[in-house]
């Protein structure tokens, strides 16, 4: 069909670059969310391309729950130094004071305080009018419904029933005081697109995506990696070395690993091809109840 000389990935790349440039040109204080995962890595790569030879004209914001994998934080700092971008890290000081953690307080309350509330604090503190995120429409059903430029009211809430119509690639970037925009340049990408793009562009990613022997305990059918000694172990639990990798990355106590031997990008892509489960199956916070992601988003979660 396509008589365009551009391939599918080249088309997606150009669309995303156009969106990133539109943000830089239309907002006064944009910020890019940096969660250190594979989508963030692609987003970072696209932002470098969009503004080259200029540097990325906005800061990158990492909402640090303090429970991220240690390798993620090391990777984040290495990237910031290598590419010279402006990195802001924010942790909810109230949550830190009360030692909010996923074990004592449950995943739901923990996420609410250390992620959603922390994000709102950081966005308010920076007075950002646009926050770029790496979410894709193929991730989850309510994500599939979201616009590329997604309007938020003064309390960061999303109103899914009242989204702005978005025609062609003419984006309405206008805001009233206090309002903000969430922008998703990767909306039209699939998980497979992300992996093939990482492979063909040689984009660096956190090593946790590659299979390796790691200390694992099994809880409720989920493989949890014991990343540091803060994790309380039951008396019968002894971490054992298993060959695993991660399909998505988040907070280590809430992110399930998968048994795998895929230690290179081609192996990961081939393994994904044969996979019969969805990407977010290992994410404990998504499966709380039907529509829970939508509810979180209405409250300001990304």
């Amino acid at each position: 069909m396509s008589q365009s000389p551009l391939t599918h990935l080249q088309t997606l790349e150009a669309e995303s670059i156009e969106i990133l440039r539109e943000v830089a040109a239309s907002f006064e204080r944009p910020v890019m969310m940096y969660s250190i995962g594979k989508d963030s890595s692609v987003l970072l790569h696209l932002a470098r391309k969009a503004f080259f030879p200029s540097k990325i004209p906005f800061p990158l914001l990492h909402v640090n729950t303090t429970w991220k994998f240690r390798e993620m934080i090391a990777f984040r700092d290495r990237m910031a130094e290598e590419y010279g971008f402006d990195l802001i890290s924010h942790t909810n000081p109230d949550g830190l004071r009360d030692n909010i953690n996923p074990f004592d307080h449950g995943s739901s309350r923990y996420t609410d305080i250390m992620k959603t509330a922390a994000l709102r604090q950081a966005l308010n503190a920076g007075q950002y009018d646009a926050a770029i995120g790496g979410a894709r429409r193929d991730e989850e059903k309510s994500r599939a419904k979201e616009r590329i430029f997604s309007h938020r009211n003064a309390t960061h809430a999303w109103d899914p029933k009242n989204q702005r119509p978005e025609l062609w690639r003419v984006f309405n970037t206008r805001l009233n005081p206090g309002e903000s925009m969430r922008v998703f340049p990767l909306s039209n990408w699939t998980e497979l697109d992300i992996w093939t793009y990482i492979y063909s562009e040689g984009i660096p990613i956190v090593p946790l995506y590659f299979a390796k022997k790691r200390p694992i305990v099994e809880r409720f059918g989920t493989l949890i990696m014991v990343d540091d000694d803060r994790m309380p172990l039951n008396t019968d639990e002894v971490p054992r070395e298993e060959m695993v990798r991660f399909r998505t990355l988040g907070c280590y106590p809430l992110t399930g690993a998968m048994r795998s031997t895929a230690a290179s990008l081609p192996e990961i892509i081939m393994e994904m091809q044969a996979s019969r489960t969805s990407e977010r199956e290992g994410r404990l916070i998504d499966s709380d109840s039907v529509g829970s992601m939508e509810k979180k988003k209405q409250e300001g979660y990304f």
Partner: protein
Amino acid sequence: MTLPMATPDTDIDLWLNQQTDKSLLRFLTCGSVDDGKSTLIGRLLYDSQLILDDQLASLKKESRNRTTGDEGIDFSLLVDGLAAEREQGITIDVAYRFFSTDKRKFIVADTPGHEQYTRNMATGASNADLALVLIDARKGVLTQTRRHSFILSLIGVKHVVLVVNKIDLVDYDQAVFDKIVAEYRAFAEPLGFKSLAAVPVSALRGDNILATSPRTPWYRGSALVPYLETVEVAEDRTEQKFRFPVQWVNRPNLDFRGLSGTVASGAIAVGDDVLIASSRKPAVIKRIVTMDGELNQAVAGQAVTLVLDREVDVSRGDVLARPGETPEFSNQFQARLVWMSEESAFPGRSYLLKVGSQLVPATITDLKFRTNVNTLEHTAATKIDLNEVATVTIATDKPLAFDSYATNALTGGFILIDRLSNATLGAGTIEFGLRRAQNLTYQAFDVNRAVRASMKGQQPRIVWFTGLSGSGKSSIANLLEKRLTAEGRHAYILDGDNVRHGLNKDLGFTEAARVENIRRVAEVAKLMADAGLIVLVSFISPFEKERRLAREIAGDIDFAEVYVDTPLEVCEARDPKGLYKRARAGEIKNFTGIDSPFEAPTNAELVLHGAEDEPTVLSEQLYDWLKI
């Protein structure tokens, strides 16, 4: 972008090459509510084996007590992702879904059938190459089928597949199918689709989805998926005229000034001549910069940074083109509008218009006609309501570079934005520029406002009074004019009642007429101020938008909004003209404060409290404030 071939001949590279060669089809599903759009998409995902095990398990769990197909699954649950959609069993907003077969990748926009959410259907159509128009075999062609088909033609979707769904519920009857197809073809003929196929399917049971069904032996065409895999829809945008809308000026240091943007159409190479659409200044492409290295050529769809050979004034919103192939550059054009807001559109009201990266204030100058979606007939109208389609002329505050939508969707499609709420109100497609815009220039005279004003020894200005009927506007204006005249100033009062006896006697009190009433008075006030006068405008002017319009029309003339804030009870008790009494008795309709709203100003330069002081005191207060 290049694929590193470090490990040639491996499985992954073979596989990647296959993936790279696959083309992408973007399509949408539309049609009336309950015709099974979500079910069809669910079926497409299921049959192409894209429902993963954990999704299938939760789906089966949720499918209890619902209409399920042969597999015991309610396929619509796959796409209706919002809680409200599940509660009501309808689709509210567009969902974008991805699937692929061995031959092609697909992005499908599942759009709502409800009339209330037509704007979301237009959103889905605007990036699609093809549309599946669904029809319930039991119901046939409905209003919403026609409305959606018309919007498809308006947005420029040129390929349509008529999916006659639920064919199982009419016993796989060929006569039913043939009748629906014949009726639809007759309706769609003037819409000018390039291709129109029709397939009888049961999304729930899977008939004619992946393969032709033995239950419709009379159907000679292709099943749906094989058709979608092979239909030719692409247009070669690289063959069109070169258009490069500048998105962002890239200035990392004093030595580099690049123009970042996406090639909307055509192609450009280093050494080519270009023209800046706004200034008509020529330049030559010196470099085409990307992070992957410099290019010799850039084609439609590529996001690049162009460096010109000389310093010419170019900024965001400008369009680069080739000499002799430039876009239109004008401040007036004819367009078709799809209205997407509960708040109606009125000629004379001011909006923001965005086309490409150009954003300018704009006004609908003429509403030529509305198009009836059932019959495609043109009807006269004074406003455009939600989901209506109209043909209008639009004037912008400064000239724009554009093409007709038919020749270039990216430089001819625009949105209209509300100036207060910033909501997107409508979408438009430009038909053609109006010649008169280029022929009409302002006559520059030697005697100008400054000369006239200095002859009168005063600063011309517009004092715009707003407030309820009986609030005291005219009394205050009258006292002020008396004092100014006594001091040898030249002033004039434009009064709502007086103007309606003459200039505006053709106007009634509907919202549309009120907009036009204010527009004309604002233009007259501007002319009078230009003549050097101090103009006192005493109008109820109940709507924020029109007061803002008046301020904009005044341009660089000093404009002060004076709000005479008198409570309704006080005005009603005064009732100097007996109008409140008549309004309460139902003799006068659309009376401000009674059955028509008054939007109190939030940005008035001065507020006078009409219930607290006498008009003499208030006019003195105003005089002092004006510092004349």
